[in-house]
Symmetry: D2
Subunit: 153 residues, 4 copies
């Protein structure tokens, strides 16, 4: 699994620890069985293994579960570049479902395309992994806002 090398300079040297700590406090991630696998400046990956509990009526991973990891990866990708005394919120996102969420594992890969003091824009795509092969099943654009003066904890 290669991730794009980004050239972003994080404002908070402890960005990875902060993202991991925040992720660990999201009960919903444990509930769906998602894990935070990569945290780099401006880039985050969240993995979601297939389970029957995650499926929709045709047996594929539910679109809502795909949207959840796409959104969460985008939020934390943006958060890696934010200052220490801030919190992050999703303003909005838009996603297209390209193929069914079918496979052993779903991987959300989020990459910052425009960081900002106030607003950050992120490309977040989800890949379905089947027999070691990845196919893109969701593409999305996400807008995040930094809330200054509000620590994440």
């Amino acid at each position: 699994m290669t991730q794009p090398a980004t050239s972003f300079e994080p404002k908070n040297p402890d960005f990875a620890a902060r993202v991991r700590d925040s992720f660990s406090r999201q009960s919903f991630m444990a509930h769906i069985g998602a894990s935070l696998e990569v945290v780099e400046p401006g880039y985050v990956e969240i993995h979601l293994p297939y389970r029957k509990a995650m499926t929709q009526q045709h047996g594929f991973i539910h679109g809502g579960a795909l949207a959840t990891i796409a959104d969460n990866a985008a939020g934390y990708a943006a958060f890696t570049l934010m200052a220490a005394d801030t919190s992050v919120l999703t303003v909005e996102f838009k996603l297209n479902f390209l193929r069914p969420g079918q496979g052993e594992k779903m991987i959300a890969k989020a990459k910052v395309i425009k960081p900002g003091r106030n607003l950050t824009v992120v490309d977040s795509d989800v890949y379905a992994v089947s027999g070691g092969e990845e196919v893109m099943c969701v593409t999305s654009i996400q807008t995040l806002v930094a809330l200054p003066g509000r620590e994440d904890r």
Copy 2:
């Protein structure tokens, strides 16, 4: 809880039974504790009670859970107007988070604004219910496609 009366004429007289049957086969809905509460022609409501397991790092209902019920309500609102021998898929959606998902219960209300033989466009909003009062916390536009010749089962 009042829902807008719509003037849509369903093509399938069994639309409500079909939607309920499909919903009951979505394991993910049971997993998050969501229920299908209203099924009218062109209009569907899905409710999600607060549970700790649904939360993000600040204790609010996770945005992914809100997106999930917004998406699912939209899909089924569109499905109420589709012909008997079709299946429904979400093409894409876009949502804005307006306020935190804070309260005893979240309610997704989805209303068809433009039905079509091929594509259907739906407005789907999520309301947070707190002490009997509803405030909109998510607004979204969703595009659904009918897959002819593929029954939902």
Copy 3:
């Protein structure tokens, strides 16, 4: 043409004059022949008469022209509620084309659904007017940001 009465309280009593002045400095509005017809707190209408110069390959008003008036109406609807020493920028928008832009006149109607000190969310729809009847041809959600300390002029 009725517009919804909104209950928003503008921070800048001169909001309407400011919006009209800003609109008049947009060369692109003159170039496409659009006019600002209604400016109320949190609500703006922009009208675009049919001209051959506005059309796409099938003779309908070009989608880009519809997007332009939807975006512009949204920006100014948000601007009506912003403080005097700010400027407004569109962060992003998403729109669905519901029907062709066919008729004597296109009307963009933008209504704020969530104002904010930093971000404002607006519903902006475009109607095609034909023989006195209006049909919705575009629906959109738009996010605007206030730039404090930067006057619009």
Copy 4:
């Protein structure tokens, strides 16, 4: 100006002539001064030189003009891969403004990411060219539909 080599196989060998012919019938493109510069399978570029008539209140290219070329490039990128007896329509798009449209020329670059018999999804970004350098000022995702049995003419 390099464009990505795509590996798409056009169904219509005359795809480029068809796109050029359709573009030439769009009066709105002539009205704004846009030109079709690259037509490859699954990839299209539209250029828009700076003119005062294209600007908004701060002197930048109007967001609606940027949206127009992003939308149009996406539509024609999708159209390059569609069968001979079809027409193309934009279903919806979402775009983010990343930077002001400032420079001598704006270039919309649209690349198909998922072609389909019915629906096609396209990434369409706009770059501002200034002193020979390109910076991305708009990113968008667009959904197009093929209308079978309806020739574009």
